[in-house]
């Protein structure tokens, strides 16, 4: 077995995300999205040099004047992949970006904008990212549905793929049952650990594949060219400096 290089959690997530970005497609992330930003730029430095990349808040990678511009672009079907960081997701792929506790008497009320609830319908592929894989994140039922995993009868929807990338595993929505299922477990983690830290039934039958390990090449490009590029273009420069290591 080849040696799997050591990396930080942010690096792991960025590498796994980069593999989802396709050449010639348009991929985008919203505010507070350092990890997808790093992942998309890694893809553009490796297998997807022609990918159109949109990073909200970046001068270099945000070609729009205002919010409506990019929602209209997604509405027309021109955005292929979008990344969302939710506070809760349930087995129906409903997610919560708004509130912890009761909506009328919240413990924590987040800014939770409408944008992701629109993009969840209009963008074909949605990937959730989160720096924890826990029962407080992956819950049986979300406390508030910011956007629903399935459309009500008769409401058209362009979204056809949902994945969740965590520090322990990759989950994917089964497009027939509409339930989230386990796609793979990352090297160094066990199926039991994943099940113990997931708040709903992952529908596991038989052996679950292992996530393809992070390679030395992927880490090298992330830690050199991508890190330098993020600092130079002021795309999350502080996080690039501190969360992406030196090769």
């Amino acid at each position: 077995m080849t040696q799997i290089p050591e990396c930080t959690m942010e690096e792991l997530l960025a590498v796994l995300i980069s593999r989802e970005v396709k050449d010639f497609e348009m991929s985008a992330c919203g505010a507070l999205s350092f990890i997808p930003a790093a992942g998309m730029l890694l893809a553009s430095h490796t297998h997807a040099p022609h990918a159109e990349i949109i990073i909200q808040g970046s001068k270099e990678y945000f070609p729009f004047v205002g919010g409506p511009d990019w929602h209209n672009m997604a509405s027309r079907g021109q955005m292929d992949l979008f990344f969302i960081g939710a506070i809760e997701i349930d087995r129906h792929a409903n997610f919560n970006l708004h509130v912890i506790g009761d909506r009328d008497h919240p413990d924590v009320l987040m800014p939770g904008l409408y944008g992701s609830g629109l993009l969840y319908y209009t963008v074909p592929r949605i990937i959730f990212f989160r720096t924890e894989h826990t029962r407080r994140f992956l819950v049986e039922k979300v406390q508030f549905i910011s956007a629903a995993g399935s459309a009500p009868e008769g409401v058209p929807r362009r979204n056809r793929e949902v994945k969740i990338i965590t520090p322990r595993a990759i989950l994917r929505r089964n497009e027939e049952t509409r339930f989230l299922e386990l796609e793979s477990v990352h090297p160094g983690h066990t199926l039991k650990e994943v099940l113990d830290n997931t708040g709903f039934d992952l529908g596991v039958k038989g052996k679950v594949p292992e996530t393809s390990p992070v390679t030395a090449d992927e880490l090298h490009v992330l830690r050199t060219a991508v890190k330098k590029h993020m600092i130079e273009t002021e795309t999350y420069p502080e996080l690039a400096r501190t969360r992406i290591m030196v090769d």
């Binding site: 909506r103 409408y114 609830g117 629109l118 319908y121 549905i145 910011s146 629903a148 459309a151 008769g154």
Partner: protein, 175 residues
């Protein structure tokens, strides 16, 4: 625009839509097999927003990236507060976005009208004040104390600005 509603792509099945009486799901009149969320138009009686400059004819120069035009066109009356009142604005004035006075009911000179948020080209946001505001938003009691301290304690906006050591003359001198 004066239209009664707009279709929305998305939000169906969410609590966001469920909690709003002005959102519903309706068939597409051109293809009744499809349904969409539709949102009822919001038509405020009065819109109030702040901008950089206004002139005597009610023309205003707003932020480049804002949605002020949409807001003005939706509202019955439009009051604009401005950092400066000037003689004449035109479409060619920069920086900012020109809004013709035909959309505007009244303009009001209000230096520091956006404070403690920012007015581009005039002053930055006051982070300390914003943090105080956010903390005060925790409870009705805290917010009431915030209003007493920052709003009701002053007879005029000028007196408030003076207490914060902000006044157009002082800032002009500092620049």
């Amino acid at each position: 625009m004066g239209i009664p509603y707009v279709p929305v792509l998305g939000l169906a099945g969410s609590d966001v839509a469920a909690r709003r009486s002005d959102f519903t799901i309706a068939p597409n009149p051109f293809n009744p097999e499809e349904k969409f969320v539709v949102a009822k138009a919001i038509n405020p009686d009065v819109a109030i927003f702040h901008c950089a400059k206004a002139d005597r004819a009610g023309n205003v120069l707003t932020r480049k990236k804002g949605n002020e035009m949409l807001l003005a066109q939706a509202s019955r009356k439009v009051i604009v507060t401005a950092e400066e009142i000037v003689d004449k604005l035109s479409l060619d004035d920069a920086p900012g976005r020109f809004m013709p006075g035909v959309h505007v009911t009244a303009v009001v000179r209000a230096p520091f009208g956006a404070y403690p948020t920012e007015a581009t080209g005039y002053y930055d946001e006051d982070e300390e004040q914003i943090l105080e505001y956010v903390k005060a938003s925790d409870s009705d009691e805290a917010f009431s104390r915030y209003l007493d301290k920052n709003v009701f304690a002053f007879d005029s906006h000028d007196a408030y600005l003076e207490s914060r050591r902000l006044s157009p003359a002082r800032v002009a001198a500092a620049l």
